[in-house]
Amino acid sequence: MIVEKIHTENMFLYYSGKMALNNISIQIPEKKVTAFIGPSGCGKSTFLRSLNRMNDLIDGVKIEGKVMIDSVNIYDKNIDVVNLRKKVGMVFQKSNPFAKSIYENIAYGPKINGINNKHQLDEIVETALKNAAIWDEVKDRLGDSALGLSGGQQQRLCIARTLAVNPEIVLMDEPASALDPLSTAKIEELIVQLKEHYTIVIVTHNMQQAARISDNTAFFYLGELIEYDKTRKIFTNPEKKQTEDYITGRFG
């Protein structure tokens, strides 16, 4: 059965008065991979960042409409943003490990949540690294600096770091765009495995990536949600001409 996890209704977003997202209504199912595609500046990343309120960090952002997660509007006044972000984790385009050891990178999230028991932390670190499919590569050097890992490993470490906080939703903002094909394949495989436990929303410039790994695909253009459907439908027989033009590379 498909359970709805995220749901927006007539959502608008403005940057200093300029409209960046125009009337977005979408239902994102639980424990599926949902991909956002579209040309640069189409609003897909902006929309992703509004799902864990990372846009709050930018001056002059105003949001109208409903953004519901588990049927709760996350822009309500009584919502604790810190708790929201624990539930809705995020992996960024550029891998951004802290200048700490591999272990401390993973333990950072649990520690700020008040977990200080060494045994418990060890367990969380191991589980997170295993779930991010990087445990075997780093288990013998947990004390080494995370900055010594390769780009692909760093990105999986960042995914592990996100998982360590035990989120329900993982937002990914072009997580493989800076990686070589082999590392990309590993990340993609990981994403497909992760959907067993997590709801995953991924922004990607790479249409083939969206095709390979996602269950549903949303096509954004100029701040609007043009088409949203099963990935298979979008890539074999899209409804809208703009979608067809974009995925066949006839754009512009």
Partner: protein, 301 residues
């Protein structure tokens, strides 16, 4: 033809002038360093650094001045570094880039940086000694003169004010080298803003904060004007406490050259003291440069 010849001449002349100016500057630096070093070389000894002045300061060492300088910069740093760091944190982490309050603070910092140091001295005298000190005395000591006079504490605080802009600017620069992505990563993990600053931003900018501290110390160690009215002493037979006046390297040179009974006899000690002060500030500045270079390198990674 003639025209281009003239242009050529003009070019050569301009190049010549700029080259000569550059050489003059290098020459001045070399002459200064050589003269000071040759003059002070014979004085530099363990004994000179560790003993008290004797025979009307014509003989003996400069230990009290070194001791006073050290205490001055330590107390100054304790006051200036946390305060400056907190201000820098406010400016980079909390204040909106173009808000009126941020602009006002930046304007104030710039203004502080260009105020002549003698005015800091006068401010220290007026504010710390005549206002704060005097009021403390009348409130707690029944009017007995205790804090209402020049001493190490007031001099250090005055010096802290002087070095505050240096600390603020270098810490701000260091905080800005911490990539925005790391802040975002921390916040996305459910950290609060303060947790992010405390656990990610500050550790990441530690070397920058140290650079700021060293630069401030180096500036403070060499300045004389702010402590003239607020605590520097001509000569003391004992080592000072926090409420005492104190000897300090820069002021000691001034005293030896202008106030001494027999200036000619103090000449070797003048050179020696100058040499020590120069070496001290030079070393401090060099370490700040090295630290800053390392931060830049890290940032470009």
């Amino acid at each position: 033809m003639i025209n281009s010849f003239r242009k050529n001449i003009k070019g050569i002349v301009i190049e010549g002038i700029t080259l000569v100016s550059a050489i003059i500057i290098i020459a001045i630096v070399i002459i200064m360093l050589v003269v000071i070093f040759i003059g002070g070389k014979s004085q530099l000894s363990w004994e000179f650094l560790t003993s008290f002045p004797t025979e009307g300061m014509t003989k003996g060492g400069i230990f009290p001045a070194i001791y006073g300088t050290a205490l001055l910069v330590i107390i100054m740093s304790i006051a200036a570094v946390p305060f400056g760091t907190i201000t820098a944190i406010y400016l980079t982490e909390y204040a909106k880039e173009n808000s009126i309050i941020a602009k006002t603070i930046r304007f104030a910092v710039r203004t502080l940086a260009v105020i002549p140091s003698i005015i800091y001295g006068l401010f220290g005298l007026g504010f710390f000694i005549k206002f704060v000190g005097a009021n403390v005395d009348s409130a707690f000591y029944g009017g007995t003169l205790r804090w209402g006079q020049p001493n190490l504490l007031w001099a250090s605080l005055t010096m802290a004010l002087l070095t505050l802009p240096v600390v603020i600017v270098s810490v701000e620069e260091a905080l800005k080298t911490v990539p925005q992505e790391l802040r975002a990563a921390s916040l996305a993990l459910g950290a609060t803003k303060w947790q992010t600053i405390w656990k990610i931003v500050l550790p990441g900018s530690l070397s920058g904060i140290m650079t700021g501290t060293i630069l401030a110390v180096s500036r403070g160690a060499g300045e004389v004007a702010p402590i003239l009215f607020t605590g520097a002493a001509y000569y003391l037979a004992t080592l000072p406490g926090i409420s005492d006046q104190f000897m300090v390297l820069g002021y000691h040179i001034y005293v030896l050259t202008t106030q001494s009974a027999n200036v000619d006899q103090t000449l070797p000690i003048q050179f020696g003291t100058t040499c020590v002060l120069l070496l001290l500030t030079f070393t401090l500045n060099m370490s700040a440069v090295v630290l800053r270079y390392r931060i830049r390198k890290k940032k470009n990674h």
